[in-house]
């Protein structure tokens, strides 16, 4: 309607004050400001209200430390966590060997083996070498760490060493190296004893890794082939003590079967596939008390383990087996294994006792029915598996146990109890499987290109140095999973701007970061258990934050909802106000221009 106002003019003002007054382009009075003022004030009050409205529809988002999360994951990616380890090599019966030279050679050997790359959870090592000559005089490298225990010269007698059982040797070495302070990382020692070649025989070099943190290499004529010996010593340090004798290709460290609350439930099930043929029972309580309790106790720093058992019936396997005439038994092949576990009939049950995010490992002892007895596992190379069992990583293991007599003698099913000897064998296989689930070998021999090493098994299932490796890997795994969880949380939060984030989540993230930092600093100081516990805390807090129930409350209050509720009012009203303000402003400018032209005209006149 702007064209209306420019053609209109106040008629009363054209009372002929000036002859050149043109009512179309001029006006004699000042244009009024009332209407302009009203419209602009309404518009401004609306504009002022916008921030309040915005504030009222805003959702609560607790500020998350995105920067810290990113820096944590960057740090974990770029500088893998390393623990301080002290490697101590003692050479007994070696003449004229400079310990410093030996040390640098071992250092070179280790560097060669680790390829200079530092894996997460590996050692940040320091090496010390002691050489004891045949006259029991010692020379040492300068100890880097004053708190490190020193070897008392002459304790190991060159010719008396290594006689008797390996276990007693291990114990005696423990006495030799006792009194080591464990303040800054663990100390691992390798004793190399060069025996006198008394009877002139070419004695085989014997290398044993003990139950604690010691290993020894015994042989004669070692001085001549000492380059080889140095390589073996560095191999023991790297491959055994540092990496736990595991292959790089085997189960990756990321698959640590520990729940995010640091708990493992070992659920043992005895499956009678057809109780009409025979019913077997076991006395698991006793096994638990006698055999499993030491293992769970040994693993206590890494995980809180609880043990359950049950006996289930009518649980056929879901794969097929075939009769082998030569072996006089039914066989199933490794290709059948993915179908062996029958999830329909094996109601292994997630345990109600395992609350939250505990990891449940199922260990199943499968007793075949009369139709498929004896049941044997054939390996791809055609051999029959000695254990008759297999594992599935992160799930557990299955052992097929055949009854001694597969003939069904009578019509009524026989009720038996598995004998303690058999049960013990089953537990042995289980321990091997359990070790495999943690990534260790189930064999007592470690073979490398340079020779074989005998590994003394511990009655607790895991030796001390293995537990050290586990604890390092566990800390590393926890921190890694903590950083990835927090990373995905931060990505999620940033990608969904309408998601409500409660203060609890923010706090959990904060504490998780704090615990991760603490774990890192503890690890660098060599606190194995403290870093493991704080890393566990960091992981569980990160998972708690990620799985917080309130995080799902995103979709109920979207922008579309907001728009749908407010637009019926604001769309028409704002259009009115804006257009009115624009028009008034335009009209006012035109009228003012008219007035100004009138004024100039008047002046010139």
């Amino acid at each position: 309607m702007e064209e209306t106002s420019d053609r209109l003019n106040p008629t009363t003002d054209t009372s002929g004050i000036a002859p050149e007054f043109d009512p179309k382009t001029m006006r004699s009075t000042k244009p009024g400001l009332k209407r302009l003022f009203i419209t602009t004030s309404v518009l401004f009050s609306f504009l002022l209200g916008v921030p309040f409205l915005w504030k009222s529809v805003e959702i609560y988002r607790s500020p998350l430390p995105f920067h810290d999360i990113d820096s944590l994951s960057d740090q974990i990616e770029s500088t893998p966590l390393q623990f301080p380890c002290n490697f101590h090599a003692v050479f007994v019966g070696f003449e004229s060997k400079d310990p410093d030279k030996l040390r640098s050679q071992i250092q070179d050997g280790i560097n060669q083996l680790t390829h200079q790359s530092s894996q997460c959870g590996s050692c940040n090592f320091s090496i010390s070498v002691t050489v004891q000559n045949q006259a029991d005089q010692c020379s040492e490298t300068l100890a880097y760490n004053p708190s490190m225990c020193s070897y008392r010269c002459g304790v190991i007698k060159r010719n008396e060493f290594g006689v008797g059982l390996d276990d007693t040797v291990d114990e005696s070495l423990n006495d030799v190296f006792s009194g080591c302070s464990e303040n800054s990382g663990k100390t691992y020692s390798v004793v190399v004893v060069n025996k006198e070649n008394a009877n002139g025989e070419d004695e085989v070099i014997k290398a044993v890794v003990g139950k604690r943190r010691h290993a020894w290499v015994v042989g004669s004529g070692l001085e001549e082939s000492y380059g080889d010996i140095v390589a073996r010593v560095s191999e023991i340090f790297v491959k055994v003590f540092m990496n736990g004798g595991r292959d790089e290709e085997s189960i990756h460290g990321e698959f640590m079967p520990v729940g995010s609350d640091g708990k493992i439930v070992l659920s043992f099930s005895l499956l009678n596939s057809n109780p009409r043929d025979w019913v077997y029972d076991w006395d698991f309580q006793r096994i638990d008390d006698a055999l499993l309790a030491p293992v769970t106790k040994a693993l206590a720093p890494i995980a809180n383990i609880s043990v359950e058992s049950q006996v289930l019936y009518h649980t056929p396997k879901s794969s097929f087996s075939s009769w082998d005439e030569k072996l006089q038994s039914y066989i199933f092949r490794t290709s059948d294994l993915p179908f062996f576990v029958n999830s329909n009939e094996w109601h292994l049950d997630t345990s109600a006792g395992a609350s939250g995010r505990s990891k449940i490992l199922q260990f199943v002892v499968y007793i075949p029915s009369g139709k498929e007895c004896p049941l044997l596992l054939q390996l791809p190379n055609g051999e029959i598996s000695k254990t008759n069992g297999f594992i599935s990583p992160m799930w557990g293991g299955v052992i097929v146990w055949n009854p001694e007599n597969c003939d069904k003698d009578s019509e009524s099913p026989s009720r038996n109890t598995i004998s303690p000897q058999d049960l013990e064998q089953i537990v042995e296989i289980f321990l091997g499987q359990f070790r495999q689930l943690f990534g260790f070998k189930s064999e007592a021999i470690y073979t490398s290109g340079l020779g074989t090493y005998k590994i003394l098994p511990s009655e607790r299932g895991f030796t001390e140095w293995e537990l050290d490796v586990l604890s390092r890997k566990h800390t590393c795994f926890n921190l890694h999973s903590c950083s990835t969880t927090l990373g995905s949380l931060s990505r999620l939060v940033r990608s969904l701007p309408r998601m409500i984030i409660k203060d609890e989540i923010g706090e959990q993230v904060k504490y998780s970061l704090k615990a991760a930092k603490l774990a890192q600093s503890n690890a660098s100081l060599g606190g194995y258990s403290s870093s493991a516990s704080s890393s566990r805390e960091a992981r569980s807090l990160a998972e708690n934050a990620f799985f917080h129930p309130s995080i799902m409350s995103v979709s109920y209050f979207s922008y579309e909802h907001c728009f749908a509720v407010y637009s019926p009012f604001f769309l028409p009203v704002v259009a009115h106000i804006v257009f009115a303000a624009l028009r008034e402003w335009k009209g006012y400018r035109q009228e003012k221009a008219k007035y100004l032209t009138w004024l100039t005209r008047k002046k010139t006149a």
Binding site: R7, E308, S442, E443, P572
Partner: protein, 645 residues
């Protein structure tokens, strides 16, 4: 995927640990199964499966089990459950025809849907937390929405009206829970043989769910060992009660239908569950004793019991027990095999009629009143025929009386006025002091807790009918408190009528069998019956209403605002003058519009050349109206598209 264990570490040292530790006298876990079949007077057959699993007192409960389900044991350990009963029911127990005064009906006639009650062994302050956790655990275990009992508006803490007196008792029921095979499967998983073997193999899902009544129940109780340092034992009792209609070919209507297990279930029993200590099938015939002589020592007379003029059984019973009102045939199914399956059949030869023992009073409940505002609930107790014969009458002040407990939970949106409680005995209103012996009321709190009413009536023995009515107002729920199918209405859980001075038990004249089913029948159980579930329609809002209200008010506001702003802003005089100068140029369309509006307004048509201000103002207002209509139309279209997606 799976890597193999090739060899193991020979852990020789382990052997030394395997010295047998003497465990003292060690009881083993026991499991037994039983099936009771009972022809009902209304030509139906009742089948009652009973499984009992006993775990002796031990400290390894929840950890090591052989027969007992680990999940249940862990539940008991974790939530410190002392006693618990969970039932899933479809259909309503017909008290008139199926009996109301025997242990079977008093224990297995359950309200529709899910009923759960539990007694906890925790300090009083933790009972509610334990209950909430338990509901969630059971919900996961049985694939049912038992977790809805978690909210404090859905459960109650009965003091004495429920029959079990404990202050750590919680009771809740979900009348609308649909019970189906997904609840039966987890229930069967608790049995060692599941439905693979033994009596439970009969549970063919289509035939079980085709029945008239179906109630699956799980009852567990802990048994204190009494010994220091030893945990308590657990007894888990699982029952499934179904009422089936045998298919009949007989044309005679008064003839009872003949049936066999395979015709009822479509399956046969091919052997007992090998893990069961005992597995028996019982056949209970009521009202048969009158014809028989008292002593049946001879073989011939025993034979007469199961093959006589009235009926014959297809299998010879292993034993026959007599109880006060009938016969109980016992069959042992251990002998059956694949080649010779156990297929019990009952063949009627002569029409036969008998009646079931009934509870002293028969209860029914209904709603009164109409409309969406208020109403009344009435519970009607009617005397049954068998009332005079029943024991359990008491003499109070020289009068013969029947005691009846009524226990009722009201959801909070049923706002009951307890002062309106009226009791009529034989259609005469009685004052509270005359018939009401005890009453306990806990009123509901809106959105916080449900109301509960417990009362003990003392009625004269010769009573014909008694009625209780109570009035209520219907509450308003918040919009997000309505269930998805709000228009269906809301269920009021069943009321429980129990008769504290009447106890049902089967009294066998011969020595007590070792069977857990019979011993549970032998125990005196409180006679109780549940009433119908009531469906209360509440005012259901139009759930799109908030949006409609928002859009309508917003449009009105927008219109008001716009016009107000126009009034404030516009210069009417100037516009009129301008129009006057423009008037001659108005086109044909505008004139047409002008005429039209004039006609609508009922004013005489003015000449198009007329330059009267009135005509001009009317034209202006047409424009305004047109705009208003446009905006309103846009708003309506917007609302239509935004809400009707």
């Amino acid at each position: 995927m799976a890597s193999l264990v090739r060899s193991w570490i020979p852990l020789l040292i382990l052997q030394s640990f395997l010295v047998a530790v003497a465990f003292g006298s060690k009881e083993a876990e026991q499991f037994s199964e039983a099936l009771l079949l009972k022809p009902l007077p209304d030509r139906k057959v009742l089948a009652h499966f009973h499984f009992e699993n006993r775990a002796p007192p031990s400290n390894s409960h929840g950890r090591h089990h052989h027969l007992f389900p680990k999940a249940i044991s862990q539940l008991v350990q974790k939530f410190r459950v002392k006693e618990m009963e969970l039932s899933f029911t479809q259909g309503r127990w017909n008290h008139e025809h199926w009996g109301g005064f025997d242990p079977l009906s008093s224990m297995n006639a359950k309200p529709v849907g899910v009923e759960l009650w539990a007694v906890f062994d925790v300090p009083q302050s933790q009972v509610d937390t334990s209950w909430k956790n338990l509901t969630h655990a059971l919900s996961g275990l049985f694939c049912a929405s038992i977790n809805f009992l978690e909210s404090s508006t859905s459960y109650a803490a009965p003091t004495w009206g429920f029959g079990t007196n404990s202050d750590k008792l919680r009771y809740g029921s979900l009348p609308r829970e649909a019970v189906c095979t997904e609840n039966l499967t987890p229930w069967l998983k608790l049995l060692p043989c599941r439905d693979k073997d033994g009596i439970s193999a009969l549970m063919n899902r289509p035939s079980v769910y085709r029945g008239f009544y179906h109630s699956q129940r799980l009852h567990l109780s802990t048994v204190e060992s009494g010994q220091e340092g030893l945990g308590s034992g657990i007894v888990l009792e699982q029952t499934l009660t179904v009422v089936l209609q045998p298919e009949t070919t007989s044309v005679e209507t008064n003839m009872q239908p003949s049936w066999s297990l395979s015709s009822l279930f479509g399956r046969k029993v091919v052997g007992s569950c090998v893990l069961a200590k005992s597995s028996n099938v019982y056949l209970q015939l009521e009202g048969r004793l009158g014809h028989e002589s008292k002593n049946v020592d001879t073989e011939i007379e025993a034979h007469k019991l199961w093959k006589n003029a009235d009926f014959d059984l297809s299998l010879k019973p292993d034993r026959v027990l007599r109880e006060s009102s009938g016969l109980l045939f016992i069959f042992d199914i251990d002998k059956s095999s694949d080649s010779e399956p156990f297929d019990l059949g009952l063949n009627w030869k002569l029409p036969s009629k008998w009646s079931c023992q009934q509870a002293p009073l028969q209860a029914s409940r209904f709603l009164m009143g109409s409309g969406n505002e208020r109403g009344a609930i009435a519970i009607l107790l009617k005397a049954t025929e068998s009332q005079e014969k029943l024991p359990g009458r008491e003499l109070t002040d020289g009068r013969c009386t029947i005691k009846a407990n009524i226990f009722q939970i009201f959801p909070w949106y049923i706002k009951v006025y307890y002062h309106t409680l009226q009791i009529f005995v034989d259609q005469q209103q009685k004052t509270d002091s005359e018939v009401l012996k005890k009453i306990n009321v806990s009123p509901s709190t809106d959105k916080v807790s449900s109301g509960m009413l417990e009362m003990m009536l003392e009625l004269p023995c010769e009573v014909k009918s008694a009625a209780i009515s109570i009035e209520y107002d219907k509450g308003f729920l918040h919009i997000d408190e309505y269930p998805p199918d709000a228009n269906q209405g809301f269920d009021i859980p069943s009321a429980l009528i129990s008769f504290p001075s009447h106890h049902a038990s089967l009294d066998f004249q011969e020595e007590l069998s070792k069977s857990p089913l019979l011993s549970s029948f032998k125990e005196k159980s409180l006679v109780r019956s549940y009433t119908e579930v009531l469906l209360v329609p509440l005012t259901t809002p139009d759930f799109s209403m908030p949006y409609n209200v928002i859009t309508i008010t917003c449009t009105i506001f927008a219109l008001y605002f716009g016009s107000l702003l126009n009034v404030l802003r516009r210069r009417i005089g100037e516009e009129e003058r301008f129009l006057k100068s423009q008037g001659k140029k108005t086109g044909g369309v505008k004139q047409l519009l002008l005429r039209l509006t004039a006609k609508i307004r009922g004013r005489p048509i003015e000449a198009p050349s007329s330059e009267s201000p009135a005509a001009e103002s009317s034209f202006l207002s047409t424009k305004l109206i047109f705009k208003i209509i446009l905006i309103a139309g846009a708003a309506a279209a917007w609302q239509y598209f935004s809400t009707d997606k």
